[in-house]
Structure formats: C-alpha cells, structure tokens
Symmetry: C2
Subunit: 118 residues, 2 copies
Amino acid sequence: MIPLVPRAATTSDAFNAVAEPRRRQILNYLADTERSVGDIVSRLGLEQPSVSKHLRVLRDVGLVRAKRHGRHVMYRTNPDAIRPLHEWTKTFERFWVHQLTRIKERAEGKGREPGYDR
Amino acid sequence: MIPLVPRAATTSDAFNAVAEPRRRQILNYLADTERSVGDIVSRLGLEQPSVSKHLRVLRDVGLVRAKRHGRHVMYRTNPDAIRPLHEWTKTFERFWVHQLTRIKERAEGKGREPGYDR
DNA sequence: ATCATATATTCCTATATCGGAATGTGTCAA
DNA sequence: TTGACACATTCCGATATAGGAATATATGAT
C-alpha cells in the first residue's frame, strides 16, 4: 500500500543531525583535531557501532569529513556545514542584543514578560 | 516489561524542536510580531491542529510564549530560548572567519579539502 | 593465507514523531 | 442557553530513529 503521507526525512539535514546530543558531542570533540573512531569511542564512552552510525549520519549531511589512515579512519568536523545553523539562529540576534536589563530581570526571578502567562 | 534502553526524549529541548522545518517557519513568522493561531494557519498553509501541536512543542521548550486575547491566542517567539543554539554554533565560528579563499575555492568546484575524499 | 585490529553495516526491537480526522474546551454574542 | 468561532487535544496509522547484538569489510602484520 502506498504510504498516504510519508513522513519527512529527518536525518537528512544539518538541523536534525545536530538535534541528537551525542552527535553534538562528537562534533565538539572533532572540532579542533581530527580523531579516529576509536578515539571517539573511548573519549565519549559510547559503543563503537553507535559512534560509527552517528558518524555516518554526520557525514551524510556534510557535517564531518573522513580520511582513511592505515586501518584508522580519521574524522574531523566541517565547520562550513554548521554555518547555516549559525545564520538561522543569528536572525534572532537583534532581539537579545542590549538586553542586559532583561537578563537582570530574569536573574531576579521574573520568568516571563508581563502579559505572557502561558 | 521495563523498557531496556528508553530512547532519549526528543521534543524536550530547543535543538530538537527546531529540527522540524515547520517549526522553524513558525518561529520565523512569529519573530517580529505576535500572531494568532489562525494567522499562522493561513500564512503557512498548514492544518490548524498541526499548527497547534507544533506550537505546543515550541511552548514546552520555551521557544514561544502565548497570551490569550479574547478567543484568540497570540503567540510570539521567545528569542532568548534560541540563544543557546546560537552559542553552540558560535563555538565553530573561528573556523569560518577569514576564509574567503576557501569560499572561493568551493565556488571553483573544489568540493573538499585535499586528503578528505569521503 | 591467516590473524588481529579498526571500522562499518545489518537486523531487531522499542519508542518517538508526524499528519489526518475527529472531538474537546473555551470564549463571545445573541 | 444556544450557536458560532478559535484553538487544543486525543486517537490512529505509518514511518523514523536510536541502541544493542551480531556480523561484515578493510587493512596491516606475520
């Protein structure tokens, strides 16, 4: 039977790839230096297949690059692929610039702006 | 039976909430002005229940605020909640600053850096 | 060729998630 | 109170996804 409304593919863009906490950890870890899969496994304490699968997702969306080195495969994050996310969040930047007063207010316990109770 | 390894809750943080394209549309639309649910429905051409459900997710993670106004409920995005995403992406900023040459290279068709063929 | 190491893939299962349809709740007006 | 309008929730079915375990592939060493 033909699927009525196929669910949108999820792990096929950077936003979704990054939604997974472990994948963010991996990206953080690979930001400065390239690392082998084994390094990631021991550093983050994850199962090896799990790491490989996450790397696969990250690679498919271009967030990491891989290079074989002997029996090791070295990965490093590709910061350019993160840029679109940065640009999107940046469109909201103007709202939190010069808002030290608001930050102060929240620090004082005032959770929400007046009128917004939900 | 107790679930062996419960999958991590997903729609419970901003990263996941924002991973859904429609939710980003909504956030964009609500960035400048508060809008009613009906406005969002007609503007984005989505089903009303769908919009309500997305708004629910966004509200639960604090990305939007709601205020009742007669029979309408006005929503607006809460930019502060987007800030953590911005901060995270920003940690990669240093890698793409002053990289006009790279951008140029890619425009010339050189997809990946030398050595990274995967 | 064989073995060990490093990494990738496949299979399976439980759960999460989305959309659609139907229904529920709240608010204003007459 | 009844009805209309605005929005929210629930139920359903299809699919996506993550983790675990097992297995496959690739490379280097002997």
